[in-house]
Symmetry: C2
Subunit: 84 residues, 2 copies
C-alpha cells in the first residue's frame, strides 16, 4: 500500500448557468476589472489516500466523485493522482 | 490586446482548520471510503480576460485575488494563465 495525493476539480457544466460565477464577474466589474469576461466557479479538493496502486487510487477517487463530491447532473470533475 | 484564460486556485492555508474539508472527510468515511485521510476543500475559478500580454494578465489576476477572490488571512492562491 502507498500514499497518494489526489487533486479533484469539480466545475459547473459548461452548458449550465453558474450564478456564483456571475456574482463574482459582477463584483470584479464593480471593482474596476472591466477586462474580465465570463467567470466560472467550482471546487478544488485535495485528498490524502492510501491505495495499492495509482490506478486503484484514481478509481477510488472517481468513485468518491460519483457518490459524494460532484453532482452528476450539474457538474463535471477531473481527478489527478500523484505519489504523496 | 489578446484573450487569456486564467485559472485560479484558492485553498485554505495549511496551518488553519478546514471545517468544510473535515465534513467531506467524515462523509467519505461514512460512505465506506476508509482509506481517505485529510481532505481540504478550496475554490477553483476560471476567468476569461483581455490583456496586452500574459504578464499583464497574470498581474491583473493576482490583483483580483488580493482584492476579492481570496481571503489574505485564511487562504492562499495560485494563478495560471494561458492563451484563450
Amino acid at each position: 500500500m502507498a500514499a497518494f495525493r489526489v487533486e479533484v476539480r469539480v466545475m459547473p457544466r459548461a452548458s449550465l448557468l453558474d450564478p456564483q460565477g456571475q456574482a463574482v464577474e459582477h463584483a470584479l466589474h464593480a471593482l474596476g476589472f472591466a477586462e474580465v469576461g465570463t467567470v466560472r466557479v467550482g471546487k478544488h479538493l485535495v485528498l490524502q489516500l492510501i491505495a495499492a496502486s495509482r490506478d486503484e487510487a484514481t478509481a477510488r477517487a472517481r468513485s468518491m466523485c460519483d457518490r459524494l463530491l460532484a453532482n452528476p447532473v450539474t457538474e463535471d470533475f477531473e481527478v489527478a493522482v500523484e505519489s504523496a
